[in-house]
């Protein structure tokens, strides 16, 4: 079985203090740490588990700048057989449509049975690439998938609905499956495992190999564009309890007492 998995390299913003970059169209990213998108960590794991279960090969792909090579190397250490890095500086500022398009152009020339992606990424939260990629390649797609089995050339999977409800679906292959977090336990990658794959070449792929030109990617190729970003006002909402740990803890305990729960 030929399995392709698409990975995104994103800034970790969950705990960082964020500020707006000049121009007002993005945040300042220079000081942020970048990492593999959490949803995609489940995607590469699922791709590798499918390979282990049904035999096959895993190809990891990312549209990402040079620095992201370490992420693709980590994917090899996690069990991918090969990895490709698609990039040209013109990709800067691309929306989900452009990323899906670049991936589709690359994948079009390669046979595959299943493409595994994360359902969304925590930077732009768009959740667009998986479904768009499927439509561009003319294959069906599914998102928020939380269990996968393959039989008789079909994928039988479970996808998440709201409120603890799931639906079981059967889908023809080839197809794109975008996974939900939590469907597996991503393996631990040791430094040794990364070293073992240190010599594997990760080819870079440029625009001409995709048959795209600069105007078709980045801001100009995107279908939506960010006009302005802004931080919601701080402290709007909660009354912030100040003071030392001791004082704040005492105040919280008092509030609990006032509410009659102690």
């Amino acid at each position: 079985m030929k399995i392709i998995t698409c990975m995104k390299w994103i800034p970790d913003t969950s705990e960082a203090e964020l500020s707006i970059a000049s121009g007002g169209k993005d945040i300042k990213k220079d000081d942020l740490d970048y990492d593999l998108n959490d949803w995609d960590r489940f995607a590469i794991e699922e791709a590798v588990q499918l390979k282990e279960k049904y035999d096959g090969e895993v190809t990891a792909i990312s549209v990402a700048p040079e620095d992201a090579e370490e992420m693709l190397r980590e994917c090899l250490a996690r069990g991918a057989d090969e990895a490709f890095q698609i990039w040209n500086d013109a990709f800067e500022g691309s929306d989900g449509f452009v990323i899906a398009r670049a991936l589709a152009e690359f994948i079009r020339k390669r046979p595959f049975d299943i493409i595994v992606t994360g359902t969304l990424a925590e930077d732009d939260g768009g959740g667009q690439v998986g479904g768009m990629l499927g439509a561009m390649l003319g294959v069906p797609s599914a998102t928020l998938v939380s269990r996968i089995e393959i039989a008789d050339g079909k994928a039988r999977f479970r996808r998440e609905l709201e409120g603890g409800l799931y639906e079981n679906i059967e889908m023809e292959l080839p197809a794109v499956i975008s996974v939900a977090t939590g469907l597996n336990e991503p393996r631990f990658v040791s430094i040794r495992a990364v070293r073992k794959v240190a010599s594997i070449d990760i080819p870079t792929v440029d625009l001409d190999e995709l048959g795209l030109d600069e105007s078709q990617v980045g801001h100009s190729g995107s279908r939506i564009s960010v006009e302005k970003v802004f931080l919601p006002p701080e402290g709007e909402g909660a009354e912030i309890i100040k003071g030392s740990t001791e004082e704040a803890a005492a105040r919280l305990a008092e509030i609990l007492k006032e509410k009659g729960v102690l």
């Binding site: 603890g164 564009s225 740990t245």
Partner: protein, 325 residues
Amino acid sequence: MKNIYVLAEHRKGTLRDTTWEALAAARTLAPQFGAEITCILLSNDASTISDRLVQEFSKVIAIEDPSLETFNSDACIKCLVSILGDKSDYLLLMGNSNSVIELAPGLSITLDAALATDCFGFDVVDGALCALRQIYSYKVNALVSFKGAAKMVATLRSGSFPFTPTAQAGGSVEKMESPLKSEKLRKVFVSYEEAEKGDVDISTAEIIVSVGRGIGDEPDMDVYQSLADTVGGVLACSRPIVDKNLLPKYHQVGTSGIEVKPKIYLALGISGAFQHVGGIKGSPLIIAVNKDARAPIFRVAQYGVVADINDMVPALEEKIKEIKG
């Protein structure tokens, strides 16, 4: 834009609120563009569902087909293309439900439309529609334009567009031929499945101590269980805690977990993503401890402490013990 289409969403034979929220958004936008609002209903039994729709929509376009009983994105794309394929100058609005999350991206490609997902508001800038979205772990707001596209699709965050029924539309239903008859679907529904139930039921708990990713990769869960026991509450969590198998799924609060309505919800190291907060709307008192002053949880909490939970949790438990004596 001349037309605003609203996709009616239903599950197990009943309309979902996402339908009405999308109509609410359509009603605020339509006058600004002089646009007409039309509902699109794709179902196995249009007549039952459309009774309610025609009270609010003056026009409903319906396609009836047995395979539209459940939300099948493959079938829905085919139907929507048969309705909208030759149209231009429109905005299609749908709730950003877990079903639509699957439908919207592929649909936008097939319709050749610009797509903005999970929008919580709209703005009109120089006569053009722009959407408001949240980015970067839901901490930053972004105003996004459709770049002048003549075909636009937007999916809407639930709870962002409150709906007031008028029940005065007296609309009519136009049935269209199903395009599905001759075609084999690549995807078929097999069955529904419910998440496993456990020994605690957080949905009825009065006091909830809830932990998020802020507890770290290798947390000592006993510390949090102990705090929950001391306040006489139950332990719950955000999704990443379940994803990491630190607690079973029936402890998860949120849109894909369980909706809770305790008297007190103590959120520890939880950022307050919309899907989490969606599960605690019924809680009158939310208290949050988070080391990031900009964490969205502070926007829904009544009280907040900007602190490290590793310091705060033991200190709080001690104070509570002192009070209880």
